[in-house]
């Protein structure tokens, strides 16, 4: 990794932690409400069915799932919608084209800085959970699982980065494409399992979803964290994620190469 890439990463992190109160309000508030809503919704379902386990989840397991899934989702989202399209729209992309830097590498470092920020939030919550609500049936700390998790998350982040970039580059042709980013977000959240665990989907839907990249972005890291992956599963699924990553990288570079020739650099 070249030196400037590391500087970009650190500078973005510094910008992120400049608003510390935002960090804590966001962190505590989001975690609190996500858990609260998930707990009451699923408690109501478990009570109404008079069961203790549904699709392999206990109510505590479900709470843990909803504690982690939104955070994994946010790790994938990186800087969020508009991280390239807004600069195309404003004409700010000019600076990246003039400087002797690789635009993709620059954007990846910025993106990963945001992802790391949310990864830290996830580890803080995991640490607190481990310290106060430790339950071996739901989550058991293991270096191997954490190692699996980090490598999967990194791979999933890069996959989503390239997928997201391909959509953001549409701004070369259509100026304002914010809504396209939101559509991609709906897909990722729902088909990735952030909204409801994929195990609750009907069998045919689970099979269908497994042919898309979305389960590899949220459900796969989640399974690694829960320790549900054997070494064979890990190798098999990370191989599939790698294929998706290469496919989206190819797509993003293709769209970029087409798009930069229609870019006027004038902005609004």
């Amino acid at each position: 990794m070249r030196n400037w890439s590391w500087h970009v990463f650190l500078m973005e992190l510094r910008t992120l932690i400049a608003y510390r109160s935002d960090f804590w309000v966001n962190f505590i508030g989001q975690t609190f409400f996500s858990i609260l809503i998930a707990y009451f919704l699923w408690k109501s379902i478990f009570t109404s069915n008079q069961v203790e386990v549904m699709q392999g989840f206990t109510i505590q397991g479900m709470v843990f799932y909803y504690l982690m899934a939104p955070l994994i989702f946010r790790i994938q989202q990186g800087k969020g919608i508009g991280f390239i399209s807004r600069e195309i729209y404003d004409g700010n992309l000019n600076k990246y084209l003039l400087y002797p830097i690789n635009v993709f590498r620059y954007k990846i470092m910025v993106y990963l800085a945001h992802s790391s920020f949310f990864l830290v939030q996830l580890f803080i919550i995991l640490f607190l959970y481990q310290s106060f609500f430790y339950n071996t049936h739901i989550y058991q700390f293991s270096f191997v699982n954490i190692l699996y998790f980090i490598s999967i998350v990194l791979m999933a982040c890069l996959t989503f980065f390239y997928l997201f970039s391909s959509v953001e580059f549409m701004a070369f042709w259509h100026d304002n494409i914010w809504s396209l980013g939101v559509i991609l977000r709906f897909f990722t959240s729902f088909l990735g399992g952030a909204l409801i665990p994929l195990k609750f989907f009907p069998e045919w839907a689970q099979t269908l979803v497994s042919f898309t990249p979305f389960p590899y972005l949220i459900d796969f890291p989640m399974q690694a964290l829960l320790g549900n992956l054997s070494f064979y599963d890990f190798i098999q699924k990370i191989g599939i994620t790698l294929l998706w990553l290469l496919a989206f990288r190819f797509l993003a570079i293709f769209v970029w190469n087409r798009g930069k020739f229609v870019y006027t650099g004038v902005g609004i």
């Binding site: 960090f23 309000v25 966001n26 379902i45 109404s48 259509h174 559509i183 709906f186």
Partner: protein, 262 residues
């Protein structure tokens, strides 16, 4: 009053010409909201694959509830959402000066200036969905209760915006509203869940303090339940409380506002 109405019609006209500038975005916004609606129906339909009842409601009643909060969402997206989006930016950049110097209420200006023409298509779709579920409801609906239900859905839309504004108004003091805005987006999911899933203090909190439960869930309960006087009271009291809080915090915030780069 007529002056405000005329002004609002101008806002709507400008918004339509602005929306037509970005036709592709116009189209994708319609698709985006459609995806949101489909996701909501799928979410609850998947849940109902594993349970016959949720919060005492069967799938038919739940579908009516989903259509109700989708209607509120569409109405909010059309009238208020863009204004809420620009609200903290206007304060941060000092653009509020522009509204303060006009001979109309600055709150009226900042809340209603941006009308989302593209979301209006979705409002038509959401209204169609709601009509479909109301017409096909097998239990039969009383016209009097139906009128109350619609009045409280409109109240729910305004209330949703007001609660959002309370979170955003923190920008007057914190300079960046991002943290609080994100908390709002995490908390607002409560309005997309039936209130009866919550119990104890949490339930009271979502009725009286952050009244997300009274926005869509309570109006739907008015259609199904026998005794509605308590429900009506529980909608009116927190609503008035929130409107007063917004009025009070807005006044305080303006006193704290120091123009550009506030």
């Amino acid at each position: 009053m007529m002056r405000y109405l005329r002004l609002y019609l101008h806002f709507v006209r400008f918004s339509f010409s602005k929306a037509m500038e970005f036709r592709i975005d116009f189209f994708f916004r319609v698709v985006m909201d459609l995806f949101f609606y489909v996701t909501q129906f799928l979410f609850f339909n998947i849940i109902y694959l594993h349970t016959p009842l949720l919060a005492g409601w069967n799938l038919e009643q739940m579908s009516l509830f989903i259509a109700s909060f989708i209607f509120i969402d569409a109405l909010h997206m059309t009238i208020f959402a863009t204004n809420a989006w620009w609200f903290p930016i206007a304060i941060n950049r000092g653009n509020l000066d522009y509204y303060l110097t006009k001979p109309v209420s600055s709150f009226f200006f900042i809340s209603l200036k941006e009308f989302a023409a593209n979301s209006m298509i979705n409002l038509i779709l959401a209204s169609g969905l709601l009509t479909y579920f109301l017409c096909n409801y097998s239990g039969g609906l009383d016209p009097g209760r139906l009128s109350l239900y619609f009045i409280f859905l409109l109240n729910g839309t305004v209330l949703y915006f007001m609660v959002h504004i309370i979170f955003l108004m923190t920008v007057f003091w914190t300079q960046s509203p991002q943290g609080f805005a994100d908390v709002f987006y995490a908390a607002e999911k409560v309005f997309q869940r039936p209130d009866k899933i919550f119990t104890g203090y949490v339930r009271r909190f979502f009725v009286y303090v952050l009244p997300f439960s009274i926005m869509a869930s309570y109006p739907v309960r008015i259609l199904f339940e026998k005794n509605i006087s308590t429900l009506v009271l529980e909608i009116l009291v927190p609503s008035c409380f929130i409107y007063l809080v917004v009025f009070f915090v807005w006044k305080k915030g303006l006193r704290n506002y120091s123009s550009a780069s506030s």
